[in-house]
Symmetry: C2
Subunit: 503 residues, 2 copies
């Protein structure tokens, strides 16, 4: 017994070291996007490569392999210890699966593919990127072979972002969802168009420092802890870090409050999740978030279901109008309609919450089909455009507004896209359960009170760290298996009432 726990203790020391080094790596990355002088970039690349290498060596060391082998058989471990061993063993398996030569080829290809992607956008020429997409897909198939999979290569890629979920599980959810969503989007978009929503008052002059102060107050009211976090400015908003250091970023538009505001709420949703693991578990797998799908359910719940709701704005609109006189004193119902306008559009990151998932479903289908060889890289632009027309009824005028818009495939992120929609579906399913559990939840929002919501999320989700996977989490916290019904109900209730639609 004493001998056994000694191995676990040694294992934990190494696991924590890796966590601290990952925090240092996160700081190098955060600084690169926030305050790093532009001319430092080559030194930073070397620092990141070196530290990543040290972390990789520590994760994959022979000593670690031996400890894991011993601990996996150790019946004396308690439940928490077993989770830490199970989860770290998964990291170990993925980190040791790829031969160093392939890792090097992947990293070189990513940097060249990114470059080609930028050029192809600049020159409006998909052909520049095409060979790099071919190469990326070829390498990703190799990765899948090395990692192994149950049914199909896509499983192995998906697993990195959504552990222990299979492609067929995702399809079983997303395919019926898509079939219901396409006609719903058409119906809501038609009604919204006929309603001729006036959102002209959303544009104006909004002092950036005033935005920062106002949005910081909102993020604080949500419960984000600035004692252990920061809010800074980056080109693309993100959340980074774990344990005592979880930082979020946003971007401000001096002519429009929405981009900065909703990015703040979205990233704070991610940040609250990472800040909400149990402090005693910090620096171990139980002290960090497990899946991108669950992560996205948190950010989307706060951003869309709370942050774009009527009660939320009942509280914040008067304050916002006081801070930003340029907004005028438009009434609450017009404001609410304006920030929830629905229209099919080309760019995913600018899409409203109704059309958004169709952008995702299209990408999920296409990356799978390309990986399987059913669609050739050269066919991507035409297949993309066909499917945009089929799902959203519009055709991009060029590839920059089409298949070249996202950075993901150029930096090797294949298998990542479905987690956005998994997050949206989960957020609605969780939310209906929370409304049942907490009386007066939305009346609280209308008074600026979000603590009951946060406490619920903390207890049921955040504290669990990497204990439960995405599908298990859903069943455990909502009481039913994940499906598209709750999200469809959410859209129908919200947009039915907004645009007077009968479903």
């Amino acid at each position: 017994m004493a001998k056994k726990s000694k191995t676990y203790d040694k294992f934990l020391v190494k696991v924590k070291e890796i966590s601290y080094l990952n925090q240092a790596l996160a700081l190098l990355r955060w600084d690169q996007e926030t305050y790093m002088p532009p001319g430092t970039v080559n030194d930073r690349a070397q620092q990141v490569a070196l530290l990543s290498g040290i972390i990789h060596e520590t994760v994959t060391s022979k000593a670690m392999g031996r400890m894991l082998a011993e601990l996996k058989k150790d019946k004396s471990l308690d439940e928490d210890q077993k989770v830490n061993v199970r989860e770290f063993a998964r990291d170990f398996k993925r980190a040791t699966a790829l031969p160093p030569k392939l890792v090097k080829e992947l990293s070189e290809t990513e940097s060249l593919a990114m470059d080609a992607w930028l050029r192809s956008r600049k020159e409006l020429n998909f052909k520049v990127f095409e060979p790099w997409l071919v190469k990326t897909i070829e390498l990703k198939n190799k990765v899948a072979e090395h990692i192994g999979y149950e049914d199909q290569p896509y499983d192995a890629l998906l697993e990195e972002y959504e552990p222990m979920m299979l492609t067929k599980d995702v399809e079983a959810i997303l395919t019926p969802f898509r079939k219901k969503l396409v006609p719903l989007v058409a119906k809501i978009a038609k009604a919204a168009k006929e309603a001729k929503v006036d959102d002209s008052f959303l544009k104006g002059d909004f002092n950036i420092e005033a935005q920062r102060i106002f949005f910081t107050e909102i993020v604080k009211a949500m419960g984000y802890n600035f004692e252990r976090g920061r809010l800074d400015v980056t080109t693309h908003p993100f959340t980074i870090g774990e344990a005592l250091d979880v930082r979020i970023t946003t971007r401000y538009n001096p002519k429009d409050l929405r981009p900065g505001l909703f990015a703040c709420i979205h990233e704070a949703g991610h940040g609250l999740y990472e800040q909400g693991t149990l402090e005693k578990n910090y620096h171990t797998p139980l002290g960090v978030a497990i899946s991108l799908g669950i992560h996205e359910s948190q950010s989307r719940l706060w951003e869309n279901i709370v942050g774009r709701s009527l009660p939320f704005w009942k509280f914040y609109l008067p304050k916002m109008q006081k801070t930003f006189p340029a907004l005028g004193n438009v009434p609450l119902d017009r404001w609410y309609k304006a920030i929830n306008n629905v229209q099919p559009s080309f760019i995913r990151v600018e899409a409203d919450e109704v059309t958004y998932n169709l952008h995702i479903l299209l990408r999920f289908e296409l990356e799978k089909e390309i990986l399987e060889g059913k669609v050739k890289a050269s066919e991507l632009p035409s297949v993309w455009n066909e499917r945009m027309e089929k799902y959203l009824g519009i055709v991009p005028p060029d590839d920059v507004q089409g298949c070249l818009q996202d950075v993901h495939w150029s930096c090797g992120l294949v298998g990542y896209f479905p987690t956005y929609t998994l997050g949206n579906l989960l957020s609605a399913q969780i939310y209906y359960k929370i409304k049942k559990d907490i009386t007066g939840l939305e009346d609280g929002f209308a008074k600026g009170k979000f603590t009951p919501l946060l406490n619920w999320l903390r207890e049921k989700i955040h504290r669990q760290g990497r204990r439960y996977m995405y599908l298990d989490t859903c069943k455990r916290v909502s009481g039913t298996a994940l499906d598209e019904d709750n999200f469809m109900r959410y859209l129908k209730e919200k947009y039915g009432s907004l645009f007077g639609i009968q479903f």
Copy 2:
């Protein structure tokens, strides 16, 4: 030949890795003082300890020892390669000299001594700090025994900040200097007092953002490269980093422009030195600064000899008065006199450039005497006060304004103080040579032109990295061995003319 250069190449790879890891460590430290959330402090301590440990292991590895032993005997290396081997071997020797137990004891003592120092200041009670000073001195004597020394233990401590300089060399310079400086200070202070300098206009309301913009312009004019650096705010100004990432900090006082301004110029002086090594030498000993004495000569030259000079203010005063109307339109000569007022005072960091060195000489003498056991720790307050009276003619009303004012001894910095005065002496000796070499140097300052000065410093000093030591550097660039004459001449010329004193 091929085999030999192969070892040097391998050595260089490791040396560069250490440099990149040191950059990452510097970022952890920079962030801790600038943007880190306060609640992150425990995680940060772990990250710093871990990364420091990894760096220490890499520096002191057996493989490194073998490479150095081979390279030291290698006659085929060129001059630059020899310098890199010589300098890295010095780092290796210091890093391997101390037994791990002593290193641990030092680091634990530092953190507890710092704590006691803070408490002793708060409680105005030297007795709280006294046992920790005893312990620190005891450990520092042990360090000296392990490192080894030529004449006396202080040599081994001094060497960390001022390589290859002996205590007797320092004394041979500072003792005659002190003897001349004490009466000079008395004379200048008396004249300044009789002149009843009006500096009331230096106090006012100065917008901090306006200060930041204005000081940034000055720092840019000096030649500091913001493409590879930043200027931020910290409690205590500092310069950190090397190669492509050298950052400086300052602090702003909304009621007084001087603290922020002169800290900017001072730190930019340090920053220019680190930015000025040759790019091809980055990440090797030839690509970083060698000694604190030389470092301080750069910061002091810019801060005092340039930044407190009449030509400098001929250019900047009108601009500053335009930016800060609170300054009024006081004429140049009154401004010049006000920012160069001389009065003995208790606090080193607030002292003027005339009295400043007496603060240093006192500390240098006392730390040496305590290390040798000639002064007991318990006697420090009384000996401090006696010597203040002897050198500066004033007695601190309490120990916070006396022997408890500096952080150095509480964090293990023994042997550091003399480098401040070595810097001042060198700055004057260099400056008279530069004035000879560059016609119209100060006329250039009066037009805001500092490039000729920077180019001279770059060529003669910055580019050399760790090639030449402090005393060699002085002889090489000024043509004569270091002495106090140039600095004395500088003070007499400047303050004689300012306060109408005949020397």
